[in-house]
Every structure is written in structure tokens, then in C-alpha cells.
């Protein structure tokens, strides 16, 4: 296992370096001068020149790349142009907010989807199935921000049990502040997973070993949750891993609606103001997280199905 993890990490290094190189050059291809973005329309030519000089933007791109790459190898993501501070510090301030939202959103979304998917499969073709598959279709069709806005209207404006602004503090508990965005994310994430669970369960429920289990007189609970769900987990784990990976950078809509600025919002803001080091840094952090999540997903495969070795070989 250790050898496997080490090999995956080593394989990931060229990917991360590749991401850094691509992002470094692509972000500089976007029209717009960082000095202009930071100083605004009032800035004089002299002020713009001074800003560019101070931040090394007047150097040729290959020189800038050399400087940035040397720093990157040492773990330094450079100085943010818009925050006037190390990009790493700015990212690390936001990362926990994104992490807790991603973790709880995907966790509750997965729990709900497993329940809904199993029910839909068990009651295939009957009203619970129709209801839940309709819910899943609706969840996949509705944009995440729309779900978020409805949660705000119902839970914050009408029922007043959660705050509109989840980071306000002052009498608002941790869970209260997290409930809105987590609920929106869970609802959105559970939609695809419900359908995946349902179809995966339906496939497994038709297998001979399920019939054998039932004929042995095992209870339906044991049949469904031990024999069926256990064997249906592989595609579900894949989707959960994918969701977790994409939510880190992709929850910007919810971060905006619930005023919970995380890594996704930071990245978009950084692009708007052409904060090159911050764009590079944020992308690298997201890339590293995705690589880690993929490694964890591969390991989980082996746990849920011992036939799959961590090397990827079958017994």
C-alpha cells in the first residue's frame, strides 16, 4: 500500500508541475494588465509603470517564469498582487471554509443519495421511485445558485432559522451558519448520486447471489445493505470522489450566494484582477487536492471491493 501511494504521489508531481506551467502562461494570455486592474481608471501612466516595476511585471515572461518556478519548487507561491501578501497565506485562509463546505455537503449529499437510490431501486416503477427519480432529475436540472437562493428565501427570510450571511457571527452557531450552503450543496450533489445508486443497485439486485441470499432466508435489510449496496458501491465511490474534487473549486456559486468566500471565489476574483501569483497558487492547490482525492478514491475501491488491489490488478 505504501509503495502504491508513493508511486501515485510521484506520478502526480509531473501533473502538478504541468498545471503550474500551463496556468502560468495561459493566465498571461488573458487580455488585461494587472496594474490597470489594481489601480483602476484613475491611475496615471507613471503609477502603472511604478506598480509593474515593483511587482516584476516589466521583466520578460521567461524571466518571470524562472523566478516563479524557482519559488514554486521551494513551496513559495509568490506575492499576491491584489492582497499585497504571500499568495499561500491568502489561500490557506480560505481553504478551511471550502473544505468544510465540500466535506459536509458531499457527506450529507451522499447519505441522502444512498437512501434515496436504494428506495428508488427497491420500489422500481412505483410511486417512491417516480418521486425520487423526479427529484434527482430536478436536482440535476436546477442550477446550484437557484437552489441556494430558494434555501435563503425559505430558511433565512421566511423561517428565520439560518442567517442570510453565513459568516456573520454574533449569535449564530457554527452549524447554523453552515446549514444553508451545506443543504444546497447536498441537494445538488445528491441528485446525480441518487440516479447512480439507483441504477447500480438495480444491476446488482438482478444478480444470482442476491437471489441466493434471499433464498437462504436472510432478512431484506441484510440483503439490501450488505450484499446489494456493498457490491453497488464502486460507481458510487467514483461519483463521490468526482463530486468532492470538483466542489473545492466549483462551489463558487454557493460561496457567493451565502457570502462564504472560499477558494473558488478567491480564484475567480484573482482572475478578474489578473492576480497572476494568486491564480497560479489557487489552481495548484486545487490540483493537489484533486490528486489527493483521486488517490483516496483508489484506496477506497480496494476497501469496498477486496478483489480490486491497489495496484489495479484483479485477483
Amino acid at each position: 500500500m505504501k509503495k502504491y501511494i508513493l508511486s501515485r504521489v510521484l506520478f502526480a508531481l509531473p501533473t502538478i508541475i504541468g498545471v503550474f506551467i500551463v496556468v502560468f502562461f495561459v493566465v498571461r494570455l488573458i487580455p488585461g494588465d494587472p496594474a490597470s486592474a489594481m489601480l483602476g481608471p484613475k491611475a496615471t501612466t507613471a503609477q502603472i509603470e511604478q506598480y509593474r516595476e515593483h511587482h516584476g511585471l516589466n521583466e520578460p515572461v521567461y524571466v518571470q517564469f524562472g523566478v516563479a518556478f524557482k519559488k514554486f519548487i521551494k513551496g513559495d507561491l509568490g506575492q499576491s498582487l491584489s492582497w499585497y501578501r504571500p499568495a499561500r497565506d491568502v489561500i490557506m485562509e480560505r481553504l478551511p471554509r471550502s473544505a468544510e463546505l465540500a466535506f459536509f455537503g458531499v457527506l450529507f449529499g451522499t447519505i441522502a443519495a444512498l437512501i434515496f437510490g436504494v428506495i428508488a431501486a427497491v420500489y422500481r416503477g412505483r410511486w417512491p421511485d417516480l418521486l425520487l427519480t423526479s427529484f434527482a432529475t430536478l436536482g440535476m436540472s436546477l442550477p446550484m445558485f437557484y437552489i441556494g437562493l430558494w434555501i435563503l428565501v425559505i430558511f433565512a427570510m421566511k423561517l428565520k432559522i439560518i442567517p442570510v450571511i453565513s459568516t456573520l457571527g454574533g449569535g449564530v452557531s457554527y452549524w447554523q451558519s453552515l446549514l444553508g450552503p451545506v443543504l444546497a450543496l447536498a441537494l445538488s450533489e445528491s441528485a446525480l448520486l441518487t440516479r447512480t445508486t439507483r441504477s447500480s443497485m438495480l444491476e446488482v439486485l438482478n444478480e444470482d447471489y442476491i437471489r441466493t441470499a434471499r433464498s437462504k432466508g436472510l432478512t431484506e435489510r441484510i440483503v439490501l445493505f450488505k450484499h446489494a449496496l456493498g457490491n453497488a458501491l464502486i460507481p458510487i465511490v467514483t461519483v463521490v470522489g468526482y463530486s468532492l474534487a470538483t466542489v473545492f473549486g466549483g462551489a463558487i456559486v454557493l460561496e457567493t450566494v451565502f457570502a462564504r468566500n472560499g477558494v473558488g471565489k478567491l480564484l475567480v476574483d484573482a482572475i478578474h484582477v489578473r492576480d497572476y501569483p494568486l491564480v497560479q497558487g489557487t489552481t495548484i492547490v486545487i490540483a493537489i487536492l484533486i490528486v489527493l482525492i483521486n488517490i483516496v478514491t483508489d484506496i477506497v475501491y480496494g476497501v469496498v471491493d477486496p478483489r480490486i488491489r491497489v495496484t489495479g490488478e484483479e485477483r
Binding site: P31, G32, D33, S36, M38, G40, P41, K42, A43, T44, T45, Q47, Q50, Y51, H54, H55, S82, W83, Y84, R85, V90, E93, R94, R97, I111, A112, I115, I119, V153, F155, A156, M157, K160, I161, I162, P163, V164, I165, T167, L168, G170, G171, V172, S173, W175, Q176, L179, L183, E220, R221, L224, T256, V257, A259, R260, N261, K265, L266, H272, V273
Partner: protein, 519 residues
């Protein structure tokens, strides 16, 4: 236990946990919190990226900083300058030496001792330090300062190289916010960007960049404070819809907005609308070096196509006014009643025909795809279409727009002209030497250049006002910048806020004398 019971149990547990977690904590934030503090919550879409005054760029980015920092002088709404950290000042007969008598007993926040003349010297001189990377050295006219002397702890003598009749106003703006030398020596530049030390009525308490910043009342503040607000929090809410929801639900108590529809809506809901003078004008600009605006007839036709009353009535509900010049009326030296609308769409068509475009003229109107530019851009587009222009509208990202205009690539645009209280910047930007660059309109006019140069080298304010007025008239005669209307901030505040809402001439507002009603 059968499957149905298991599922029912899971659902019940989930629902209970949701309800319990939601009910935990006892509700949403109220003005008076658990510690007995009166808390006032501001909502905003942007924040201080750095607390270092050398990095401050725009007024509305830094409104919390106004509560923390102070300057030697402060600027009133009527443009007069009053002492703040300086108790008084004397100006030498030659107008070059300013002697500031500093206020005694002024304490720095966080136990950094007393404010002294060394702090003044340090504050001004650090703008020249390459390590600091100040973007405000030019705004202070640092190059014009010959020397800064500190004969004693409470006296500062600043000698200028040449007379600057607006030197005091320059120091009264955010560029002149005083910085604590002892704190800087102790914490260094990087820490200072996160942890401000000022002398103002509120001191920095805590904050999470990108989320929320909190300032608390400074008990040792030198000035008189009549308000009851102990803590001010400023929360970043990027989405305006969320912001308005938070305002309506009472979670935030103040938001400054440009959206006049929202102003009307919230006024009807009982919120107070505080007008804050903002030195901004909505204008339409043309680049006279760019076809077809090289032709004076085309520029005149465009002036005849625009009806500012439509903007004021339909977009601003009569809350804004027409302007007499492209310099905002709250700015010093603005001429207030010179420019008059020449709206006449039929005349515009005639002028276009005369210029060689009897079937209409194809033009592109550029603007920014932000929250406030598209509505006036739409009106402009309609009016130009009605007057014989075949107008295409392009809304693009701000940074790309600015670069395009600076490079002289935008022939026609609509934007807000944000002018500091001193009009020097806006006046000098249209001088011939600034093209391409800040002179987006490509104005190359010797007479204008001469008038502005004279204004910048005078010895009295009256002389400067005279030359700047003549320069504005000259520029307006070129028909290249169409000033449409004023643009002010509406600061929406809860009806629980009473007392004095202090507004200054730089567009900042202050809460130290405001009284928040508590339950």
C-alpha cells in the same frame, strides 16, 4: 426491524438534527450582542486588500479604514479643511513652509504610545521607500516636498519646492492617513497590511480576509464621541441579492448602493437613505484621434443625440442632477452651470448627413459589464439609434476596458468619471502629453494645455479656480466629453440608526456619533 422502520428512523434523525442545529445559538444577530456591546453590521461587496495607506486606491474600497486612521486635517463637505491631528497650522509668507502644531495627548491604538512629529515625518517619507511600493506618492505630490523637519515632538515643518494651494487638502485625503512608526518598527510592513494601527475613534480588533473585519471603540480616543456603537463589523457579501436580503432581514444595518431602484424600494420599507456626496459624473467619452470622431460635425451630432433628462428621470428617479462640466460639482474648481444640453435628434441627423453619413453612421459604444454601467449604456444606445447612429454596444471586463481606453483604442465609451476632491488629476489627464495614456479622448489642444499649466503654477486658490474654469470651458467647447449626470452614493441604513451620521468631503462617512437603538 424492517426496512421501512430503518428508513423512517434515519429520516427522523436527520430532520431532528437539522432542526436542532438550526435552533442552536438563539437566532440571528441583533444590534446588542451577548457581551452587551452595541454592534453595527455593515455589508459590502469589496474590502480593504491591505490596511497600508500607501496601498489605498479607491475610496469605496476602504471605508472601514476611515474609522481607524486619521490625517493631519479633515475635509468638510463644503471643501473647507479643518484641523484633525494637527491642532493648527501656519503657512509662511512665501507659501512654501507649513508649520503644523500637533494635537497633544493623541494615543495610538494597541498601546503604541503617543502620536508625535516623528510619525508625520515617517508617514510621508515612507511613500518614497521602494520597499513600501506606495501608489500614492504622486497623489501627495511627494516630489514637491523639499524637506520635513521636526523641531520638537509636537511640531512639524514641511517645506515645499513650489507653492501648492491644495497641499492641505491633499493631506486631508486618505493619502495622508497617519501611520504609527513604533508599530511599523515593531511589526514590519507585511504585518501592517493586516493589522492597522491608527488614532481614530475605532481600533482594529479582528478580521478574516475575504470574510469579515471588526473594529471596536477606542477608549482612549482624543476626540468627543456621542454615539453608542461599540463594535462595527464589515462583512463581505459578493452577491448583491444576498446583500439586500441580509439588509431586509436585519442582519446588516448599512449598505451603500448605486442601484436607484433598490434605494426607492428600501426607502418604502422604512430604511433611511443617506446621500453621500460622491465626486462622480456619468459621462460619454469620445476619442478625437479615432475615426469618425476626428470630425467635429460627428461629435456635435452625438451631443445633439443625448438627452440627460431621460437618464435622470428614468434611471435615477430624479435623485441626480445635470452637470455643468465634466468635473463633478462636489470637486473643488468645478464650474457648475456652464454646460447645457443641446438635445435635438433631428439636428443630429442633419449634422450626420452634412458630415457625409446621410444613411446613418456605424459606431460602437464600449462600456463595462459591471452592475452599474449597463443600464445607462442601454439608454445611450437607444438615444444614439434614434438620432441616426447605427450603434452597437459592447460591454466588456473593466480591466480590458481600461487598457483599451488607455491605448487609445476605444472610439466611444460610457463610464463614471470618479474625480478626487481636488480636480488636478482630471484636469491634467486630458493634456496633450498624456496621449496615449490617461488622455483617453486623445485631446491635443495647446490652449487647454496652457490653461492647465497656468493653474498648476499659481499662488492663490482664486487664480487656480480661474484657470481651471477657463480650461473646463475650453474642453467642453471641443464636444468630446459629454457629462450626463451626477452620480452619488445612497447609503441605506436601518431605521434603528439615529444620532449623527457624519459625512466628509472625501465621500467617507463616520459612525462615532451615531446612535443605534437597542432592544
Amino acid at each position: 426491524m424492517n426496512l421501512k422502520k430503518v428508513l423512517a428512523l434515519i429520516v427522523v434523525v436527520l430532520m431532528c438534527s437539522v432542526l436542532l442545529t438550526a435552533c442552536d445559538g438563539g437566532g440571528i444577530a441583533e444590534p446588542e450582542d451577548k457581551n452587551g456591546e452595541v454592534v453595527f453590521n455593515l455589508g459590502r461587496t469589496w474590502e480593504e486588500k491591505s490596511w497600508d495607506p500607501a496601498s489605498f486606491t479607491q475610496l469605496y474600497d476602504i471605508f472601514l479604514a476611515h474609522m481607524v486612521y486619521e490625517s493631519l486635517a479633515k475635509l468638510n463637505v463644503d471643501g473647507t479643511v479643518e484641523p484633525e491631528l494637527a491642532e493648527s497650522w501656519d503657512i509662511s509668507d512665501d507659501g512654501l513652509t507649513y508649520t503644523f502644531n500637533l494635537r497633544k495627548g493623541v494615543k495610538w491604538h494597541h498601546d503604541y504610545g503617543e502620536f508625535t512629529s516623528e510619525d508625520v515625518k515617517f508617514t510621508l517619507e515612507r511613500h518614497a521607500d521602494p520597499e513600501v511600493g506606495s501608489i500614492n506618492a504622486e497623489n501627495i505630490h511627494l516630489d514637491n516636498i523639499a524637506s520635513i523637519d521636526t523641531p520638537d515632538e509636537h511640531t512639524v515643518e514641511i517645506t515645499l519646492k513650489q507653492i501648492d494651494v491644495d497641499f492641505l487638502t491633499r493631506l486631508a485625503l486618505y493619502h495622508g492617513n497617519m501611520v504609527c512608526k513604533a508599530a511599523y518598527d515593531d511589526k514590519g510592513l507585511d504585518e501592517m497590511k493586516l493589522f492597522p494601527v491608527g488614532t481614530g475613534p475605532y481600533r482594529y480588533d479582528q478580521g478574516t480576509p475575504g470574510t469579515k473585519t471588526e473594529v471596536v471603540r477606542f477608549e482612549d480616543y482624543w476626540g468627543e464621541v456621542t454615539g453608542n456603537i461599540d463594535r462595527v463589523t464589515a462583512t463581505i457579501i459578493s452577491d448583491e441579492n444576498t446583500l439586500y436580503s441580509a439588509l431586509e432581514s436585519g442582519e446588516i444595518h448599512l449598505y451603500q448602493c448605486f442601484d436607484k431602484d433598490k434605494t426607492v424600494e428600501f426607502k418604502e420599507k422604512g430604511f433611511t437613505v443617506n446621500k453621500v456626496p460622491f465626486n462622480q459624473v456619468l459621462y460619454i467619452g469620445m476619442n478625437m484621434q479615432h475615426e469618425p470622431f476626428t470630425d467635429p460635425l460627428v461629435r456635435e451630432a452625438l451631443f445633439c443625440a443625448i438627452d440627460p433628462e431621460v437618464f435622470i428621470d428614468d434611471l435615477y428617479y430624479g435623485t441626480e442632477t445635470t452637470v455643468g462640466s465634466y468635473i463633478p460639482p462636489n470637486s473643488k474648481y468645478a464650474i457648475k452651470d456652464h454646460f447645457k444640453s443641446t438635445y435635438d435628434p433631428e439636428r443630429a441627423k442633419e449634422l450626420l448627413a452634412e458630415a457625409g453619413y446621410p444613411d446613418g453612421l456605424d459606431i460602437t459604444l464600449w462600456s463595462i459589464n459591471d452592475e452599474i454601467s449597463p443600464p445607462p449604456a442601454n439608454i445611450t444606445h437607444s438615444q444614439l439609434e434614434a438620432a441616426g447612429f447605427n450603434c452597437e454596444m459592447q460591454l466588456i471586463e473593466a480591466v480590458v476596458f481600461f487598457d483599451m481606453c488607455r491605448a487609445g483604442e476605444a472610439p466611444l465609451w460610457l463610464l463614471y468619471n470618479d474625480t478626487p476632491p481636488i480636480a488636478d488629476f482630471t484636469m491634467t489627464r486630458y493634456m496633450s502629453a498624456s496621449y496615449p495614456g490617461n488622455n483617453w479622448s486623445g485631446i491635443q489642444d495647446d490652449e487647454y494645455d496652457s490653461l492647465v499649466n497656468k493653474a498648476l503654477n499659481v499662488e492663490t486658490e482664486d487664480e487656480k479656480a480661474h484657470y481651471f474654469a477657463e480650461a473646463q470651458k475650453r474642453l467642453m467647447s471641443l464636444n468630446v466629453l459629454y457629462p450626463v449626470a451626477t452620480m452619488s452614493w445612497d447609503v441605506l441604513t436601518t431605521d434603528k440608526l439615529g444620532g449623527e451620521f457624519v459625512v466628509r468631503g472625501d465621500g467617507s462617512f463616520h459612525l462615532y456619533n451615531a446612535v443605534m437603538e437597542t432592544e
